[in-house]
């Protein structure tokens, strides 16, 4: 196990290992997503209170959880980069930021579309919405900081520090918004209509889209990290050989 993890820390091994299981991951991810989305959009029974509008949650809930979870992953990678100076960890963290910010943006948008039916407006300053907005800002900050540096090493270390500061801040942000919300009396509640009233079939597609979107996180992060590896290791012999191979194949 440790041996395996240790090997993943080497850019070359990361690249080669991901080459072997990328087709599998792609297949499983697409399968889960297609089944989940088709089922959720067309075959899951209608929510008796909210009608078909509720079908947005099949993407909304997994995306929101994903956005949060990608940040945690990014912070773990940042810590590994700071403590052990593992370069691959930083490349993964850089990829995580892009994937995380896109998940966060889509979660906010789908949330607004879903909320219009419940609250009558697209946006309310609810604790969850506010926290995700701030999570979105923090992602933007990490990406902006990284792109501001010319030197790759400074950029990676600075982004790691900010990521770690952000992970300390996130629970406080959530707690602050919950408290703030009780002060200002929220206009409505967030939960789906009384959960007991819904048949379990309504929830099954969520597992498919949920695992599918987690698979998609890994897929996207790996694809981006592989590009990053090729570019940062461009002087290594194995990358040069690989480029020659690609050239002859083309």
């Amino acid at each position: 196990m440790w041996q395996w993890l240790y090997k993943l820390g080497s850019p070359r091994h990361f690249y080669e290992m991901t080459s072997t299981f990328l087709p599998w991951l792609t297949f499983v991810t697409y399968f889960l997503l297609i089944v989940g989305l088709v089922w959720g959009l067309g075959f899951a029974p209608r929510d008796y209170q909210m009608g078909d509008n509720y079908r947005i949650i099949y993407i909304h809930v997994p995306l929101a959880l994903g956005a949060l979870w990608v940040y945690v992953m990014m912070a773990v990678m940042a810590a590994m980069h700071m403590i052990w100076n593992i370069k691959v960890a930083d490349m993964v963290a850089k990829s995580c930021a892009v994937v995380g910010v896109s998940y966060c943006a889509v979660a906010l948008f789908t949330g607004a579309m879903w909320g219009k039916r419940i609250w009558g407006v697209y946006w309310i300053w609810d604790a969850k919405l506010t926290s995700f907005l701030i999570l979105f800002f923090i992602y933007i900050g990490v990406m902006a900081l990284r792109s501001a540096f010319d030197s790759e090493t400074s950029a990676s270390k600075a982004a790691s520090v900010l990521t770690l500061v952000g992970i300390v801040n996130l629970p406080i942000v959530y707690y602050a918004s919950v408290w703030w919300n009780t002060l200002h009396q929220p206009p409505s509640r967030l939960s789906l209509s009384a959960e007991g009233a819904n048949p379990p079939e309504i929830w099954i597609p969520v597992f498919f889209t949920g695992f599918g979107l987690i698979g998609l996180v890994f897929l996207l992060v790996i694809l981006r990290t592989r590009n990053e590896i090729l570019w940062r290791e461009r002087r290594a012999q194995w990358v040069q050989d690989l480029v020659k191979q690609e050239l002859s194949r083309a």
Binding site: I59, R117, L230, L247
Partner: protein, 67 residues
């Protein structure tokens, strides 16, 4: 196997009157995820092309130095 919940395809697109919200959400989702999936592939092509150009440059320089 659960049944298809809509009487017709038109019903399916109407989404029980919530067509705008549901389809806007899914459209944005698909747009972003397709960009997410395409961008790394284009990036990979770009990186490989850049690296190939570098190799060609370097081998040219080496050949010239050898003359």
């Amino acid at each position: 196997m659960p049944d298809f919940q809509f009487a017709s395809l038109g019903d399916f697109f109407a989404m029980g009157g919530y067509a705008f919200y549901v389809w806007a959400a899914y459209l944005f989702f698909f747009a972003v995820m397709i960009w997410n999936l395409l961008q790394p592939r284009l990036e990979r092509r770009k990186v490989l092309k850049l690296l190939q150009a570098r190799q060609a440059r370097e081998s040219n320089a080496a050949a010239r130095a050898g003359e």
